[in-house]
């Protein structure tokens, strides 16, 4: 049960880190290439701590790499939001911003939970996540309140991503059963923060749309299979080797 939860956290970090890694070398300007890689690196670092903990919870029968590279798409428990393709810069920024608001709220709760290991990981992450949120919020405002084109592109991204944000504040069965934060408890806080920034960015808050969920329980969008086939290619092609 607890391993499911830790894997859910680890998978979400890894898949978003993987998506951000796709930008490396291709970003809009060198400074932002560096910034986005930084965030990807933070997420990869956090996911490693989480996979190592998940491995420990599973009696060390599997390593962090086996957990990351040898589980299939029905076993992955990341949010649907983070597996969505990068799209244009506006799309990536909006996805990051929605995630960062959730991530900060989560870490602020996790530092208070009874599990010492998760507490320690969250404490370390929180410093990084605060920076991520500052960065993505600033870009939301800059693009939203920039030119007509940037405003339109970002509004489109916000509208199209909206249905995937619902899952961030749902509580899965394994969260109900554990002494860990229930994301549904910070639904209102997530909306308040997101609305405030969207307002400052002169963007419209999307009307209620269909609510998509399932990632946390292993039911994904078609995108995840492709992410995994690329990411797991080496471990699957050359089983059991040391790199």
């Amino acid at each position: 049960m607890k391993q499911d939860y830790v894997l859910h956290l680890a998978d979400t970090h890894l898949i978003l880190g993987q998506r951000l890694g796709e930008w490396c070398g291709h970003n809009v300007v060198l400074e932002q290439d560096i910034a986005m890689s930084n965030i990807a690196l933070d997420l990869l670092g956090q996911c490693r701590s989480l996979y190592q903990y998940a491995a420990e919870l599973g009696g060390n029968k599997q390593t962090e790499d086996q957990l990351a590279f040898l589980r299939g798409e029905r076993q992955y428990k990341n949010h649907l939001l983070v597996e969505q393709p990068n799209g244009d810069f506006a799309f990536t920024i909006a996805r990051q911003f929605f995630f960062d608001v959730y991530h900060q709220l989560l870490c602020e709760e996790l530092v208070k939970c009874s599990d010492k290991q998760l507490q320690a990981i969250a404490e370390k992450s929180l410093k990084e996540v605060r920076y991520h949120l500052t960065w993505s919020s600033e870009w939301m405002i800059r693009l939203g309140d920039g030119t007509t084109e940037s405003h339109q592109r970002l509004q489109t991204a916000v509208n199209e991503l909206w249905m995937w944000t619902h899952e961030l504040t749902t509580t899965a069965s394994y969260e109900e059963a554990l002494d860990v934060p229930r994301p549904s408890d910070f639904k209102a806080a997530w909306h308040a923060k997101v609305s405030a920034i969207l307002k400052e960015a002169t963007l419209e808050i999307p009307a209620e749309s269909t609510k998509q969920a399932g990632g946390k329980e292993g039911v994904h969008t078609e995108h995840l299979g492709f992410i995994l086939s690329e990411m797991q290619m080496m471990q699957r092609t050359y089983p059991g080797m040391t790199w």
């Binding site: 970003n27 290439d33 962090e64 920039g146 050359y238």
Partner: protein
């Protein structure tokens, strides 16, 4: 003393030339050409390695590779900044890259086909880059020399990482060893080409040496590289793909075969496998980012205006 004499004396005394100092126009031009080629090499050089970030075999390798490519972006930034001190804007210099006018190292026009290529680039290509670059930490132009001190520290870290990838492969299975050998077979000669044309055919070398922009000749550095790398290849259990390679006790160095200069010039002139692909990727990133840069400028102006209005009120 004339300005020229002051300049010459500084060069002779190994005193750094700084942005506001008088310098001969040809010195400025040579520096701009060299730093620009270097900056663009960092920027274009991100591409072949970034090609493997999403496929790196372990989480640790993924993180180190991403961090490495990020360092290269950082090197690009230092160098574009050094170039700005010579009156060349980043925009102008990127325009020159995108139009094909400015050059970058040809090594990045070769494809990265397997994971072993990532190890080999770190080990051989960064190894060659270090030999080229360490003397530049003492180059006569101050901002360039200082940028290179930082670059070199990070490069030697990258080289160790590359060597470590190769060690894992050579301690691995037959398939992994084969992958490593295939990589050195493809990268060895292009890496030797990184030191540039033979001294007898290098048009820019002599003056650069006089101005202490360069401190060793292309052939000297190439020899140093071979002498350094052959024992490392042996340690890894890899065969250097050169039938003429032989220890020469008299010169206390290796004799080695002739570079395929036809291939060298062909790739320099734009006809390598990836020349078009790399430049297209650079242009695309730049073009796709135009609206973002415009938005950032527009927002900064709006904000400045709002603050001015606030202050005025």
């Amino acid at each position: 003393m004339t300005e020229q004499e002051i300049f010459d004396k500084k060069i002779d005394d190994d005193v750094r030339i700084e942005p506001k100092d008088w310098m001969p126009e040809a010195y400025r031009k040579t520096l701009i050409r060299q730093i620009s080629q270097h900056a663009h090499s960092e920027y274009v050089g991100m591409l072949p390695e970034a090609n493997w970030i999403t496929r790196a075999p372990t989480l640790r390798r993924k993180a180190t590779l991403l961090a490495k490519v990020q360092d290269e972006a950082g090197h690009g930034l230092y160098l574009y900044s050094a170039m700005e001190t010579l009156g060349m804007s980043r925009q102008q210099s990127l325009d020159d890259l995108h139009s094909g006018k400015a050059k970058y190292s040809s090594i990045f026009n070769y494809p990265t086909l397997t994971w072993a290529d990532i190890g080999t680039i770190g080990w051989l290509v960064d190894g060659a880059a270090i030999l080229n670059q360490v003397p530049l930490c003492r180059t006569s132009y101050g901002p360039y020399a200082r940028a290179m001190v930082r670059v070199c520290k990070e490069e030697s870290f990258h080289q160790r990482q590359g060597f470590e990838i190769m060690m894992a492969l050579s301690a691995g299975t037959a398939e992994q060893k084969e992958m490593a050998q295939d990589a050195i077979n493809r990268w060895w000669w292009p890496t030797l080409m990184m030191f540039g044309p033979k001294d007898s055919e290098s048009g820019n070398s002599e003056l650069s040496m006089r101005w202490r922009i360069k401190r060793f000749s292309n052939d000297e550095l190439r020899q140093k590289f071979v002498d350094m790398m052959v024992p490392q290849a042996e340690f890894l259990g890899l065969k250097v793909p050169d039938e003429k390679l032989k220890w020469n006790a008299e010169k206390n160095g290796y004799d080695f075969g002739e570079i395929d200069w036809e291939e060298f010039w062909r790739v320099v002139k734009g006809h390598g496998q990836c020349n078009k692909q790399r430049l297209d990727a650079r242009r695309k990133a730049h073009d796709d980012g135009a609206w973002v840069r415009e938005a950032a400028t527009a927002y900064a102006e709006k904000r400045a205006q709002r603050e001015a209005t606030k202050k005025g009120a």
